[in-house]
Amino acid sequence: MSFPNVDFALLSPSLIVCITALLTMLLVPFLGEKRQVVVAHLSWIGLSIALFAVSQQIGKNATTFGGMFLGDDFSQFFSGIFIVAAMLTIFTSIDYLRRKENEHGEYYPLILFATYGMMVMASSSNLLVIFLGLEIMSVSLYVLAGFARTELKSTEAAIKYFLLGAFATGFTVFGIAFVYGVTGTFDVAGIINAAFGQSNVDTFLIIGSALLLIGFGFKVAAVPFHMWAPDAYEGAPSPITGFMSAGPKAAAFAAMLRIFSVGFGSTVPHLQTLFWIVAVATMTVGNIIALRQNNIKRMLAFSSIAHAGYILIALVVGTGEASSAAALYLLAYALTNLGAFMVIALVDSGAKHDEFTSIDTYTGLARKRPFLGLALTLFMLSLAGFPPTAGFMGKFVLFKAAVSQGFYVLIVIAVLNSLVSVFYYLRVVVKMFMTEPDGQPVEVPAVPVFLMVALAFAVAAVLLIGVYPQGWFNFAGLSILGAN
């Protein structure tokens, strides 16, 4: 009996996150109600060790467990996104949970479990392992979305997210089963080999790919599988909404890029057309409905749908350059959205319930709190894609990758969409700077230390990527294993 070789160094980032989650989970019931915040601090310390471990593995591009677990730069890059997203979310949450009187330590290990699941998703080209990672991530997020148990909207968010998410999981499993049935393997490289050998691609491989597209489409909230997103985003606790829009979206796209773009997507006919339609529908529907939203969390939910549409361009193009561009886009989007949700969580935490989430709450905010106003303005500009922000750089790199392959119509539609999006992003800015609050202005709490650190980091990162992207990113493309 042969046992697989184990390269523990390659596994170390995800192992550290998992072990931190286990230990903090163990600690939760032993801490008193007053000392649950200890769990938060242990969690971010564990995450920063994991981030260091990631930095040590960059450039190794190795595999372990017989190719079941990949440690290429693609997966390290995404692991970095997930870890940073989790850390920023934890920093945002410490004060938020205290103010909402919802300090239960389980919150932080659940974030860590979700992060572990995402790292697993991004670190394998085996459909079985990707699926298990997806499940860990989803189960943790369903619970986190409903973490504010006393809030009706939070419970609604959890139920809607869970029911539709579980339904989508069914499609994913069905798709995996079909693909496995035709090719006899779970491994993406093996699937390509099996598919290439035949003169015409099997119908069941096409059906299986379509089912996988539906399953992942739900997770990234692509039209027409986006229905859950607005309610789930609105009802979930604000820091978790930020986390949901940053981490899981990036994880689902990482898996999709690996399965379709560098994987067997090109061997399946018509899939590119399908992606084209879904991408255009997603960005257009997301942007147009976002125009009419009055709740800032709901607005950013539709904005997140629109951004999923832009990122889907990478799947249409399908080149390695486009995949790397999508990775940069996801990093930029994650940092920007997390930053925006830091401000939203702070404003939201001014009230015990969720009455401070309408856009009207932000009336005159910039006059009273200029730094908060400027930070949120920066994030809104980045989401809209203005230079010199990360959002602009992400769009620029991605659109360039598409234009170089001749997708002109697609890019024209995407640019028009970006123009439309400027209206609703700037609406918030206008509200903050140019309007006088009528009646009692909203009391926004002082910025706590950890949130200050996180906010400063997000602002700096968004500007840095916008001004000097080369330092962060190799434009020639991340090396991706598991592809021929």
Partner: protein, 125 residues
């Protein structure tokens, strides 16, 4: 690998036989009593028998949420047991490596067990 030397049909025949028998008995009991029994409906017949107690509430009670928690915990640990079987039948061949794998598997779930015990999720009051 057939240790008993039976074909699979012979292996499953007792189970199949049992299912058929159960169906026959069930149908017989209902059928015979429906055919032979006399039916008479009256108000007296619907009353509680002799020293029986008058019904005060609906038959369908609402159960406590604790039952549900216990059932969920049962499923999780039931699943764990399912994973033990394939390991157990290969125990000798897998040796130390297999043991380590299983210990890791169980330790991870043990974290959950400690959590629920400490949290009082399986305490009944």
């Amino acid at each position: 690998m057939s240790e008993v030397g039976l074909t699979s049909f012979e292996t499953y025949f007792p189970i199949f036989f049992q299912i058929v028998l159960a169906i026959i008995i069930g149908v017989l009991m209902f059928g015979v009593s429906a055919m032979l029994g006399r039916r008479s409906k009256s108000r007296v017949k619907d009353e509680a028998y002799e020293c029986g107690i008058e019904v005060t509430t609906d038959t369908r009670h609402r159960f406590s949420v604790k039952f549900y928690l216990v059932a969920i915990l049962f499923i999780v640990f039931d699943l764990e047991t399912v994973f033990l079987f394939p390991w157990a039948v290969n125990y000798k061949q897998l040796g130390l490596f297999g043991l380590v794998e299983m210990v890791i598997f169980i330790l991870i779930l043990l974290v959950g067990y400690v959590y629920i015990v400490k949290k009082g999720a399986i305490k009944w009051d």
